[in-house]
């Protein structure tokens, strides 16, 4: 069994030199200071800005530097964008280049599919940066995505084998975030799943965010059919800024509920938690009736947070994984 807690993370300084060099740096542009700052600080041979369609940036808002403009993509673009980027920059996966992705500005499905594709193409190690906010712009009322939900579906690269058609022994795990409408949408979409399990971010990024999270999640308690209490077996806690602890938490859940024949995972909380879902899935769930589902919205807020309080670098390693397309 993989011990995710052995995987490496370090805190990068807010001021001063990072003493970290990388060959390829990829970031998704948005209006948050956190994103711009990491792009400026990092020492990389090549840096790329992804312009994602969800943010609906106008051309005059684009940053400088080398751009990968996927703003015109539509439909289910997360895989198309990843494929196109690697097609335009094959050097990234050819040779021994170090790769670093700043996930702070990424809309989660793009981040997830891109990492899946890198791993499927044989990449064994990826550094990931995540910058924690001081607070979200509107506290527990912060909206991250637009109100126009398109659909809840599997994320490309995480679609899994067919679930038992009855669904009665399926389980749904939600990494519970701020947006109760998205939690509702996911729980409603997979209402057939007999078990609905929630992972709350604790410790949270900031002390008050835990209460904000609970406040918002409580609005979805009827759809998830679960009031929040700390009683397991249906509510779990995993640090909001630690993908490795999240992956370990998922391991624990799978062991405790091993009678479930199929799983849906939905990371709706922080991006570092979502990274934990990615890590766990790629290492342990490929080729099984497990899929990651996500509520895809038409648009995403350009700026949802204020200031930076911490910057993390996580090293994802897949040394023994032999996946292929």
């Amino acid at each position: 069994m993989i011990d995710y807690n052995l995987m490496y993370r370090e805190e990068l300084p807010l001021e001063g030199d990072w003493s970290y060099n990388v060959d390829i740096f990829i970031s998704a542009f948005n209006s948050s200071d956190r994103v711009k700052r990491a792009y400026e600080e990092i020492n990389a041979v090549r840096k790329y800005w992804w312009i994602l369609p969800d943010y609906e940036f106008e051309k005059e808002e684009y940053p400088g530097g080398e751009l990968f403009d996927c703003s015109s993509y539509s439909g289910n673009p997360e895989a198309d964008v990843a494929v196109k980027f690697l097609a335009e920059h094959p050097e990234i996966i050819n040779g021994d280049q170090s790769i670093c992705i700043d996930i702070t500005g990424f809309v989660k499905p793009y981040m997830m599919s891109f990492i899946a594709l890198l791993v499927l193409r044989g990449i064994k190690k990826i550094d990931v940066i995540y910058s924690e906010p001081q607070h979200y712009s509107h506290k527990h009322n912060t909206k991250f995505s637009g109100e126009n939900l398109i659909e809840v579906r599997q994320v490309a690269g995480y679609e899994g084998e067919a679930h038992t058609t009855y669904g009665a022994t399926d389980a749904l795990i939600i990494g519970t975030g701020y947006d109760h409408t998205l939690i509702n949408a996911v729980a409603e979409e997979k209402k057939v799943a007999k078990k609905k399990i929630q992972i709350f971010g604790f410790p949270s990024l900031r002390a008050d965010m835990y209460q904000e999270n609970i406040l918002r999640a409580s609005k979805a308690s009827d759809t998830v059919d679960r009031e929040f209490t700390l009683d397991k077996p249906f509510n779990y806690l995993a640090p909001a800024n630690d993908p490795f602890a999240t992956a370990s938490c998922l391991q624990e859940i799978f062991q405790k509920h091993s009678e479930s024949s199929g799983w849906y995972l939905s990371p709706l909380a922080t991006k570092s938690q979502a990274l934990g879902f990615v890590l766990f899935y790629l290492n342990e769930c490929r080729g099984k009736p497990v899929s990651i589902i996500y509520p895809f919205c038409k648009t995403h807020e350009k700026k949802t947070s204020e200031e930076v309080v911490r910057i993390w670098k996580y090293t994802l390693e897949f040394p023994n994984l032999t996946l292929s397309l």
Partner: protein, 684 residues
């Protein structure tokens, strides 16, 4: 810690045993659901219903897993007696969202998904059949090799025939897995190589005949396909399902499709583009409509609650005991028994709202006085009118008097110079009617006639004027709020139970009924849940929400006006032909989400005699806006106002359109000189 007997409100969260345990038929003494679902009918059925109507519970009841529970003693005889073997199939579990985009055309995906569906269904059917053979100890009576050969003949090119049903199941599963891998990888390769080995529908339509032939005495058995959650598949797949409906009638299978009100997307088929016709190729049952129209709905839903309470509260055995578990009024009467006359005169409400000495300010009188003064009726006349209408000992009668005066005022077409005299004469007659209402010939009085329609509205107004919340208490109210969707009632009871426990109350104890506070908290939460839940998954949530808010606001302003145009307004009628396309679309979505209910038959317009469409707001929303629970009067609305309510592009006109409609309901009314320029006092 008490377990909330109403915690689980969705049947998907029930195990098969619980589905069986909590099964309640429509009629106590006969299998009425079977009469309406008709599992043996060769005519397929499309069962639609709002969220929480009970579709999945009903459909699962006919699945084999439930047959084996209710026929535990002898499954073989049970299945033969019921005449079918139920195969339940949840279309949502197929995760259809994977089968699109990725560089392929739509028609390519449809072919692959349908093949995947056929394999899945065949696997499910064989698994069900194999379970039945084991349960009925028939395994050794069936030649599985021969059966597998028959099924294998449906594949082309030929496959290596599995030697047993279990092997065939494994084979089908492996084929499904191959498709899954290919579909998943296609996201990154944009290539898909899937070999389709059977004709579309062959497995679904031909396997049943092969299976029933091998069951001893089973040749008349039907294989009943129960497809649930049809809303989770796209229109192309639904064309396929419609084709199956068309083709299954001559086979050993029977089909029931089940889904949300908005679940049915097409009636087209692959049979030369023919469309299935309701009443010919299939029949439709809309479950919540059926329940709303069912005379025995109240009894049915009470039995549902009693079944839930059975384990924890076995002493609650009947309707009366259940009803006694809830306080039904917030009016404290102590040990005083109001006579029928005192009730008729509204004394219990009056004492509650104004104190037993009835000394509190009569706000309905203060308001009327202000309005009379605003239209230049002389102070002397105002004083005489107020004297005529005042009835200190009977505030409710007094309130009714003001209402009658407003009504008469609104029908006046004279100038303000004559208004005072007219109203004074009217107030004299009203005073006489009020006195008559106290006597034994009260039925002859104007008060009696008006209260026959507007009693509930006037009580609601009186409560609001004295800062009291409306009631919405007790099982009768809860059942009315459920409106054909049993889950609504379960939600109310779930939250009420939790609220009562939180307050340290006994729950479901007839000697210690659940408090007003706890019920109000439960109703409030359930109403909020209903509204938010209805909006989930709709991509223009805010438009729909805003439309419902505008409609409800309009109803509330009618109810709390000086002279409501109709009594107990919770519904409206309009000329549909004059509505904008966007307006009609929003109304359609609101209906599909059970926020609006279409009243069958429409309503005849008084002027044109044309039939106008008639819609009611779901009474689960009533508590938000203090609206009635039961529909009585219907508010006719012109197309301009309806468009401004439901069409987002025209919502900017809503306030002005609403003011035009409401002008006739707020003194000093439209016919009064200068009224058009006055700011209406909306009395809220």
């Amino acid at each position: 810690m008490h377990a909330n007997p109403f915690e689980v409100v969705k049947s998907v969260d029930f195990s098969d045993e619980e589905i069986n345990e909590y099964w309640v038929d429509l009629a106590e003494s006969r299998d009425q659901f079977t009469e309406i679902i008709k599992p043996l009918s060769p005519t397929p059925m499309i069962l639609l219903g709002g969220k929480g109507s009970g579709k999945t519970h009903v459909v699962r009841h006919y699945s084999y897993n439930l047959q084996r529970i209710r026929n535990k003693a002898d499954i073989y005889k049970g299945v033969l007696s019921e005449g079918f073997l139920g195969v339940y199939f949840c279309l949502g579990g197929l995760n259809e969202g994977r089968f699109k985009g990725k560089g392929l055309e739509r028609y390519q995906w449809t072919e692959i998904f349908v093949y995947h569906l056929d394999l899945s269904l065949a696997q499910q059917t064989l698994e069900t059949f194999d379970r039945f053979l084991n349960d009925a100890s028939l395994k050794d009576k069936v030649n599985e090799v021969s059966l597998c050969q028959s099924i294998a003949s449906l594949f082309s090119p030929p496959i290596t025939t599995p030697n047993s049903i279990n092997e065939f199941i494994t084979y089908l599963e492996s084929k499904r897995r191959e498709i899954d891998n290919a579909v998943n990888n296609c996201a990154f390769t944009n290539k898909l190589n899937v070999e389709i080995l059977t004709n579309r529908g062959a497995l679904v339509l031909k396997i049943p005949e092969m299976l029933v032939k091998v069951i001893p005495e089973g040749k008349h058995l039907k294989l009943l396909y129960l497809f649930d959650e049809i809303e989770n598949v796209n229109i192309d797949v639904q064309i396929y399902l419609q084709t199956l409906i068309r083709e299954c009638r001559k086979t050993a299978s029977s089909i029931k499709l089940s889904g949300r009100l908005y679940g049915l997307k097409t009636r087209e088929t692959y049979c030369d583009g023919e469309k299935n016709v309701e009443g010919s190729e299939y029949e439709t049952l809309t479950l919540d409509e059926k329940l709303r129209d069912y005379n025995g709905y109240d009894d049915f839903i009470v039995r549902l609650c009693l079944r839930r309470l059975h384990e924890q509260n076995p002493h609650i055995k009947d309707k009366d005991t259940l009803y006694k578990c809830f306080t039904t009024t917030d009016v404290p009467t102590g040990s005083y028994d109001f006579s029928a006359q005192e009730e008729r005169l509204g004394n219990h409400e009056a004492w509650f709202l104004l104190g037993k000495d009835l000394q509190k300010e009569r706000r309905h009188l203060s308001k009327l006085k202000r309005k009379l003064e605003s239209v230049d009726v002389s102070p002397d006349t105002v004083s005489k009118i107020m004297h005529n209408l005042s009835f200190h000992e009977y505030p409710f009668v007094e309130k009714t008097s003001t209402f009658i005066l407003y009504k008469q005022w609104s029908e006046l077409g004279k100038s303000s110079g004559a208004l005072g005299d007219f109203l004074l004469v009217a107030s004299n007659k009203i005073a006489a009617s009020a006195k008559m209402y106290l006597e034994k010939d009260y039925k002859e009085s104007l008060h009696f006639k008006k209260l026959g329609h507007f009693r509930n509205d006037l009580i609601a107004q009186l409560r609001r004027e004295h800062d009291r919340k409306p009631q919405y208490l007790g099982m009768n109210a809860f059942i009315a709020m459920s409106c054909g969707l049993p889950r609504n009632l379960l939600q109310i009871l779930k939250h009420t139970y939790a609220a009562a426990l939180f307050r340290g109350e006994k729950v479901f104890s007839p000697s210690d009924p659940i408090s007003v506070d706890a019920q109000r908290a439960g109703v409030r939460q359930a109403a909020q849940w209903f509204f938010e839940d209805a909006l989930i998954g709709h991509d223009a949530t805010h438009h729909l929400r805003d439309a419902i808010l505008r409609l409800a606001e309009t109803f509330a302003e009618v109810r709390f006006s000086d002279k409501p145009a109709e009594c107990s307004v919770i519904s409206f009628s309009t000329d549909e032909s004059r509505l904008s396309p966007a307006c009609r679309e929003t109304i359609k979505v609101a209906r599909e989400r059970s926020l609006l209910i279409k009243v069958v038959g429409g309503r005849k317009d008084k002027n044109s005699r044309n039939i106008h469409v008639h819609y009611q707001l779901n009474p689960m929303l009533s508590p938000h806006w203090e609206l009635p629970l039961h529909r009585r009067g219907t508010l006719p609305l012109d197309a301009g106002l309806v468009n401004s309510i439901f069409d987002p592009e025209q919502s900017g006109k809503f306030n002005s359109q609403k003011m035009i409609r409401l002008k006739d309901m707020y003194a000093p009314f439209k016919n009064i000189k200068g009224a058009g320029h006055q700011q209406l006092e909306l009395g809220l």
